[in-house]
């Protein structure tokens, strides 16, 4: 009997971790897609670096665009942040590949929230990913002589 009671706290810890992250977040965290770096000196590569170390989250997202078609042929990320931030950026890179730049602009952070089942306290992690996408797109546009797009600020 002592044995059983003694075990209880461990069991509860286990349950808590299972509740805190969705399967999909755990999956992206464990097997992140598209971690890496693209050559930012290339004209058809757009880089977005958002967040700040002091806030506990920094995300860098890059896209490589086929100039002729406007299609994103490759996307890579590196993220300093919590599991949800890592999962958001990993998923974002997956979604970006194969989309045109114009389609990519439409990606909304709430799509990430829905797909990853993020709880309310983790919404800002998805906002960061959306910001990173937009910032990468603007970097690409700037490099290619296009006007930067103006986006509405999302609340973090």
């Amino acid at each position: 009997m002592y044995f059983l009671i003694f075990k209880l706290p461990y069991f509860q810890i286990f349950k808590l971790t299972k509740m805190a992250y969705s399967e999909k977040v755990i999956d992206h965290y464990s097997n992140p897609k598209n971690v890496g770096t693209l050559d930012k000196s290339k004209k058809n590569v757009g880089t977005g670096l958002v967040g700040a170390p002091e806030c506990g989250d920094v995300m860098r997202l890059q896209i490589e665009v086929d100039d002729a078609t406007g299609v994103i042929t490759d996307a890579k990320f590196k993220t300093f942040g919590c599991g949800s931030a890592i999962a958001s950026s990993s998923l974002a890179t997956e979604w970006l590949k194969g989309k045109t730049v114009d389609q990519a602009v439409q990606i909304d952070n709430m799509d990430l929230v829905e797909e990853l089942n993020l709880p309310p306290v983790k919404i800002h992690c998805s906002v960061l990913a959306e910001d990173a996408i937009k910032s990468a797109i603007n970097d690409y546009r700037k490099k290619n002589g296009l006007e930067e797009l103006v986006f509405e600020e999302k609340i973090h």
């Binding site: 002592y2 003694f6 700040a52 806030c55 506990g56 300093f80």
Partner: protein
């Protein structure tokens, strides 16, 4: 075989020692009496058990049993000790000195006192987490009635210079309160040698049950009194009303006795394991130990793994290892640990910290597993960290203009 998950969060709470549980069980059923029932055997039994436990508790800290006031835990002890002195000694003054790295139970009690017209000085700590004794002495003024400085810190484990603090307090005729939650039962604490006048501690951090603690209140040289914070039947010499939690008190007593007998051995064993863990993890590039390493609890290590974020790091192994992080994202607030920030750590390092709290049931096998898991996760996340890449390329991260939200 190694059983998972591993518990390394013993600063938050400790598992109860099965011997403590065994001592408690009869007091739930067979000996259920109210210790205040003076006129029948049920009450006598309960009172006897409480008296015995009071001796066990007192003995651990070198006190007289009459100086032990049972409380519901250290949060209550901190409130009763500080507010109780503030009210009792109102005619002598209204100034309290504490420090910025105290537990919330002390800091928020002090905030409350400020709102009711008291004055509080919050001493900053040095980069190693210890207070500056000269600053302490300089902060004392004619209206100072209390110095409230913790014995050992819950996040980084540093041990404050308690004896020196009490010498200063005595010299100026000021009372000395200490929140000794993390120290009692782990390292030798003696209220007379240490010169402590009022001290709060709690059973659940020393292998006892939750919901029971004690406030030590000195009876001689000087005789200290605290104003009760709850009205009622006048239990515990009028300082803390409420029917005594007899099973809890019995368990607390047993936990104190075990600690007194086994503390030296536990501490020696745990400091070896802690050092093994710390030495192995600090082999990883860009890792930093937080807090003074010499004046520190033997079973605690707080380490920052630069360029990886604490919560992301925890996620790599928290199914298997229970740890806590100073990162904001793990707690409800968005600010990283105020204790680490008080040491002057940048937010980035505070976000990157893990607290390891070893305990009586920690084994070497568990430590080996932890070293491996944590190291692997740190390396994996650094491969994923843009900051690590910049660091490796020689980019000065502090010079980048980050967009702050």
């Amino acid at each position: 075989m190694l059983k998972l998950p591993i518990y390394l969060d013993n600063n938050a709470t400790t598992p109860m020692d099965p011997r403590v549980l065994e001592a408690m069980i009869p007091y739930f059923t067979e000996h259920f009496g109210n210790a205040a029932s003076r006129n029948h055997p049920f009450g006598w039994e309960a009172e006897e058990a409480v008296d015995y436990a009071r001796e066990q508790v007192a003995k651990l800290i070198g006190a007289d049993p009459k100086e032990i006031i049972f409380t519901s835990g250290a949060t209550e002890g901190d409130n009763l000790g500080i507010k109780g002195v503030y009210e009792m000694y109102a005619s002598k003054g209204n100034h309290i000195i504490t420090c910025t790295t105290e537990h919330k139970a002390v800091l928020d009690t002090c905030k409350h006192i400020e709102r009711t017209g008291g004055e509080v000085t919050y001493l900053e700590v040095k980069a190693d987490g210890l207070i500056d004794l000269k600053e302490l002495e300089a902060a004392i003024k004619p209206t100072t009635i209390l110095i409230a400085i913790m014995y050992a810190n819950n996040e980084i484990g540093v041990i404050q210079p308690v004896k020196e603090i009490s010498t200063i307090a005595k010299k100026h005729g000021v009372l000395f309160f200490s929140d000794a939650v993390q120290a009692v039962g782990k390292i030798p604490v003696d209220v007379n040698k240490d010169g402590i006048d009022i001290m709060a501690f709690t059973a659940h951090k020393m292998y006892g049950p939750k919901g029971i603690g004690a406030l030590y209140v000195r009876r001689k040289n000087p005789r200290v009194k605290v104003t009760a914070q709850m009205d009622g039947g006048g239990h515990e010499r009028g300082m803390r009303s409420g029917t005594l939690n007899v099973p809890g008190i019995v368990g607390f007593g047993k936990a104190c006795e075990l600690a007194r007998l086994e503390m030296a051995e536990d501490a020696a064993r745990l400091s070896i394991l802690r050092d093994k863990l710390e030495n192995a993890l600090t082999q990883i590039e860009e890792t930093y130990v937080n807090g003074n390493r010499e004046h520190r609890l033997p079973h605690v290590a707080n380490i920052s793994f630069k360029y990886v974020e604490g919560e992301g790091l925890l996620m790599g192994f928290n199914k298997n290892i229970a740890l806590s992080s100073g990162s904001a994202c793990t707690s409800a607030s968005l600010e990283p640990s105020y204790v680490l920030k008080a040491l002057g750590l940048g937010d980035d390092l505070a976000h990157s910290s893990l607290r390891f709290g070893l305990g009586r049931f920690t084994t070497e096998e568990q430590i080996d597993y932890t070293i491996k898991s944590v190291s692997e996760t740190v390396l994996k996340l650094r491969e994923m960290s843009p900051l690590w890449e910049m660091f490796k390329e020689g980019v000065d991260i502090d010079k980048i203009e980050w967009a702050h939200h």
